[in-house]
Amino acid sequence: MGIRFNCVCKRFGPKIILNDVSFEVSDGEILFILGKSGAGKSVTLKHIVGVLKPDSGSVFVGDTNVSILSDEALTAVRRQCGMVFQHPALLDSLTVYQNVSFGLRTPQYLASLERPLTENEIQKIVIEKLSLVNLGSDVLDKMPSALSYGMQKRVSLARTLAPSPRYLLFDEPTTGLDPITTNAVNDLIFELSRKLNVTSIVVSHDMQCALKTADRILVLDQAKILTIGSVSEIKQSNEKLVKDFLEETLALFLPSSIGGHG
């Protein structure tokens, strides 16, 4: 079970994005994927939900090889996956309530229930998921364009959580968020994993979040896996890129940095 990459290669035109990438994520595990911009982190996530297909190799979600499935056949897999995109990706023409409840009204979700949800039940779920990301019911009737970028990202996260996915894929979930909400999102990822056994893969630049939340960390560099290991293993890594990431994180907490203004 879990998610498995087997020797995945992907190129866009002449540019190699993923080169022989293999790794496995167990059920309930939190894996952070770190790397510089353009290292192929987002592309890796999109392979899991079949938005992108590998040129060679295979990607398994549970027992299903998603790399060979058609769009129609992928629906069942996608029903189990929730993805938080780099952009909020909210549907502009729908209100916050309609956006968050969108996934609760799809035929695939309804098919997984014994009976359809009533409007009251849908509203309850929507408010509950919004409260998880520090948003109140006052935003329900607002259009996405009336919200700040950070609020849109939080609504997007609530929409992803609404249908209770088994696998959560986060593409830089905390970019553009304030530190309090960033902490809340990281705590949420941790809680979902520990309480509901949700498997999470988080693409991020934020080593601090990774060290705090991840079970394991994978570092991508130049289309390949540079290193993968537990938090303590990553802290002891001799790879220059990993050290650079760690030093950047530590620099934030050095007294000279803190006292820089005085």
């Binding site: 780099q86 952009h87 909210l90 502009d92 996934g103 997007s156």
Partner: protein, 253 residues
């Protein structure tokens, strides 16, 4: 045309044809999103009425004056003006002008909207929520475009003819009855039917090409701009080419 450009054009034609085929399959996929179809029809049809009215009215005035002026100069009579203008309006002017206006108004906005959804990952989000973007975004626009373009074609023919009659009446002293009587010798109900067919065909290609370019959009704001420009160019060429092909077909029917 160099090889990469040619390859890109072939890819464009192939992806647009593929989108057309996939959208046609959605006819059998119920339920239809009637609410969105009505909203799009209203937006495309009713929303385009002012510009179509203005443009076709003026084109009717100009063309009737031009034809009459040339007939008078060459043949020294304007007796055949109603027939010629009526036929030209019903077979070409009243059909192509609204189609080209819809390309720039409806087609451009469709591509811009779909492109923006693509680059902001809204299309990917739809897929992940288990929603087929073709059924959700393309199919309602296709139905709405066919209905509104066919209806606007008949409307613009009527407006253009009314303006032609106005010129014939006030400037060249025909009565309305004389104009319509002369018109009957040149045009038949088949012409009106062909106008409807042309309108429906243009109404089909405009949203398909516009959506196809939107789905293929890459990059940010620049990508949206390029996709919109390219979609308008491609749709314009498609309308002109299909007009030529259908005119040939109807001439020999």
């Amino acid at each position: 045309m160099n090889q990469p450009v040619l390859a890109e054009q072939i890819h464009r034609v192939a992806s647009t044809s593929s989108l057309f085929r996939k959208t046609l399959l959605k006819f059998a996929d119920s339920p239809w999103r009637w609410k969105e179809i009505f909203a799009s029809t209203s937006q495309m049809g009713v929303g385009s009425l002012p510009i179509i009215t203005l443009s076709t009215a003026f084109s009717g005035l100009v063309v009737t004056n031009e034809i009459a002026w040339h007939m008078d100069k060459v043949l020294h009579t304007v007796d055949m003006m109603p027939g010629f203008t009526g036929q030209f309006i019903l077979r070409e002017l009243g059909i192509v002008i609204p189609a080209l206006l819809l390309v720039s108004k409806v087609g451009a906005s469709t591509t811009a909207e779909i492109s923006t959804m693509k680059v902001t990952e809204q299309i990917d989000a739809l897929k992940l929520l288990g929603i087929d973007p073709i059924k959700y975004l393309v199919f309602p626009r296709l139905i709405a475009s066919i209905i509104s373009t066919a209806a606007l074609t008949i409307y613009s023919v009527a407006i253009t003819l009314a303006c032609a009659i106005a010129v014939a009446t006030f400037r060249y002293h025909f009565s309305v009855a004389e104009y319509l009587n002369a018109l009957r010798h040149f045009v038949t109900f088949a012409d009106l039917f062909y106008a409807l067919i042309k309108g429906a065909v243009f109404g089909t290609v405009i949203p398909i090409i516009s959506c196809s370019y939107g789905f293929e959009c890459k990059g940010g704001a620049e990508g949206v701009g390029n996709a919109t420009t390219n979609a308008v160019v491609a749709s314009t060429i498609a309308v002109i080419f299909l007009d030529f092909a259908l005119t040939l077909l109807f001439t020999y029917l």
